[in-house]
Symmetry: C2
Subunit: 417 residues, 2 copies
């Protein structure tokens, strides 16, 4: 049963959709080279198989020796050691130390057989070719990275659903995992609609305008971790749009209609989404400005789970704001990540009053000015059908649902683009 | 003249290097498809050639008409209009309106000839097939996007040195710029050094350890907008390292030595950088923990400008922190961006005291806990030679140069990974 005209604020609308998708739904698993896995999401929990490090490593340059032999050593009364050899880097120790003996140690190298500590070179003094003075005692295990200190077999390396950062790739490589199972990127089809639209490489005729939203949305999809599937421009004609939408659903996991903004096209979009399959339209309209005429749907299709479908407003500003509030978190969810997508934010002082209406969430483009501790957020007003409003802005300020506006001088959080 | 052992804090060290590189130095220009230009940097200022929109567009669904004919209209005394036609989307108006006439208008479509305003459909009532009542007056220009309201010919679209965001790609497409001149990505060579290192796809023998830093650094380079050029593992041998470094400089714009951490390897690195060309080593050592044994150099080579060279500490934690403080901003600078690279941050409350020493800047890995307004930052202590310290952390907290530590309960800014 479609819940038409159930006007929710964007966060609630998102929860309706994600609740229907269920937790941890993703697009399947693929095994890829760890090298290529930056910003991908782990599809399974990864555990250590081996100890790391696998041997006692010196944490310092100096000498490995038996800690007990240094006890009581001081500047005034140093302990003397016979240097019996050196443990070269990357090789097992061919040398062992007994009472009163030491072996040259390099940071990252193995300890000599029989040694249980390393004394830093700074606390030693070379007496002759084979003798050193040690002027400070070391405790057993001091300046040593112990076997398994980084990881023991069975330790968690990374949980499933983890967005891979540079250091995570290093951690996988440390265990020899040169491949990793990740969730497949969701493919997001983008269907532009409108008789007035032409491709950007065509000069527009009278009454025509270049399609802009396909490219902005494709870049936003890429940023969100999805794969954009541009589907071209459909004419304002129900059978044509339905045919293109069906083709788009075959090619994608999520379908975005970049709607013409006229009522007739919005009506087409609702009808098309309903015709694509169950459940059809979940929500039509949001308690949001700009972005009110948004459509959210979910349609059954070939495959185990229904596919999210969005009808974005045609105005570039509205389209981008709704993408950020609904489509981006949906892609992030389908990418296999629990929790909301990360966002860069800045705190700033609002330069002027921003009026709103209680019961509606407003998102206002702002430009940041100044460079001190607290920058100034200057609203970039402009009709939401202007393309350059967002190009002149650095981010968005949210006026919450229960506020009738924000005041000049108020400290606000700016969600940066 | 090399300035050995001139121990500066990291920001000052960066300024020494960038000052030598000069402003707006980048790696040359290439022309690429706008579609592929996300997160690239404009190499030239882009101006509008045409008006946008090129024609008066209706901002609403309704009727275009002469505003003067609506003056005085109200619910009680509506104005009547004869609907003389419709302006279809994407087509020039085949209809013109005279006194008392209106033409159906769609959002984004042209106004009828002779019309100067649009009345929203909500304020009209259809009387019969050809007649409407209008119950509110509109001002001339109301609900119209005027020609050039978005852009006039000659208006700035984007300055040079601008990091391209999704909406910027849309803005370029709106003007028909399907290609854009961007700065070439800096190539960053990564040379791992150490007899103990083996490639991750090889099982390490006794005393050996898998190379991890090459992969973490390569991913960090990618994140920073550069192209990583992994150069493999060089043995602890001066002629071998010098030969590999020379080869690396041919292939890259920036060279990063992922140093073994022992003193001997650091000495090799200093000698190699000096031998590569003028100026050689600029700085050896930073007032930073971890990351003190960092080397920063600049070497003349084939090409118009000297190439930055970094000797990063071998410890994974130190290497990543120094990369973030020095290498990332250098890549960002060479990518053509003025100003520092953007960072995601979170404000959090420190869970425990963090001791430091005045005169040294400390960077402490922290894990974020909680989900409310103010999360808790829990220091992840651990030797900086452990790989998993940073995998278990969400970001870094800086203890400033002039502080002897931070206190439990203090509000801190966490630089997120």
């Amino acid at each position: 049963m479609p819940e038409f005209f159930n006007v929710l604020p964007p966060d609630d609308a998102l929860q309706v959709l994600l609740g229907r998708l269920g937790p941890a739904q993703h697009m399947g698993v693929e095994t890829i080279a760890t090298l290529d896995a930056l910003r991908r999401v782990t599809a399974e929990t990864v555990y250590a198989q081996d100890q790391l490090p696998p041997f006692p490593r010196s944490a310092m340059d100096g000498y490995s020796l038996r800690a007990a032999d240094t006890f009581g050593a001081s500047d005034g009364l140093p302990a003397y050691f016979n240097v019996v050899g050196e443990v070269p880097m990357g090789a097992p120790p061919a040398v062992s130390v007994d009472v009163g003996e030491a072996a040259t140690a390099h940071t990252g190298g193995m300890l000599a057989e029989g040694a249980d500590a390393v004394v830093m070179v700074e606390y030693t003094h070379r007496v002759d070719d084979t003798t050193i003075e040690v002027s400070r005692p070391v405790a057993p295990g001091e300046n040593v990275v112990h076997p398994g200190e980084d990881l023991e077999p069975g330790d968690l390396i990374l949980p499933a659903g983890h967005l891979l950062r540079p250091q995570d790739l290093g951690g996988l490589m440390a265990m020899g995992f040169t491949e990793v199972q990740v969730c497949r990127r969701p493919r997001v089809g983008i269907l532009a609609m409108g008789d007035e639209l032409v491709s950007p490489d065509h000069p527009p005729g009278e009454g025509q305008i270049r399609d802009v939203n396909t490219y902005t949305i494709a870049a936003l999809v890429q940023d969100a971790g999805g794969t954009a599937v541009p589907l071209g421009i459909a004419k304002d004609d129900y059978p044509a749009i339905l045919a293109e939408a069906r083709r788009g659903l075959e090619l994608s996991d999520v379908l975005v209609f970049s709607a013409g903004s006229s009522v007739s096209i919005r009506d087409f979009t609702v009808d098309v989404i309903s015709a694509l399959g169950e459940s059809g339209v979940l929500l039509h309209g949001l308690a949001l400005r700009p972005g009110k005429p948004t459509i959210v749907g979910l349609v059954a299709h070939s495959g185990p789970s229904p596919k999210p479908v969005f009808g974005l407003p045609g105005n570039p500003v509205s389209a981008m704001i709704v993408f950020d509030l609904l489509v981006r978190p949906t892609i992030h969810h389908l990418l296999g990540c629990p929790g909301p997508p990360p966002h860069s934010t800045a705190t700033a002082e609002l330069s002027q009053d921003v009026p709103s209406v209680p019961g509606r969430e407003d998102h206002v483009p702002v430009r940041l000015d100044g460079s001190g501790e607290l920058r100034t957020a200057i609203p970039v007003f402009g009709k939401s059908n202007l393309i350059f409003t967002l190009i002149r802005a650095d981010g968005l300020v949210r006026v919450p649902l229960d506020r009738s506006g924000l005041y000049a001088g108020e400290e606000v959080e700016v969600k940066l683009f």
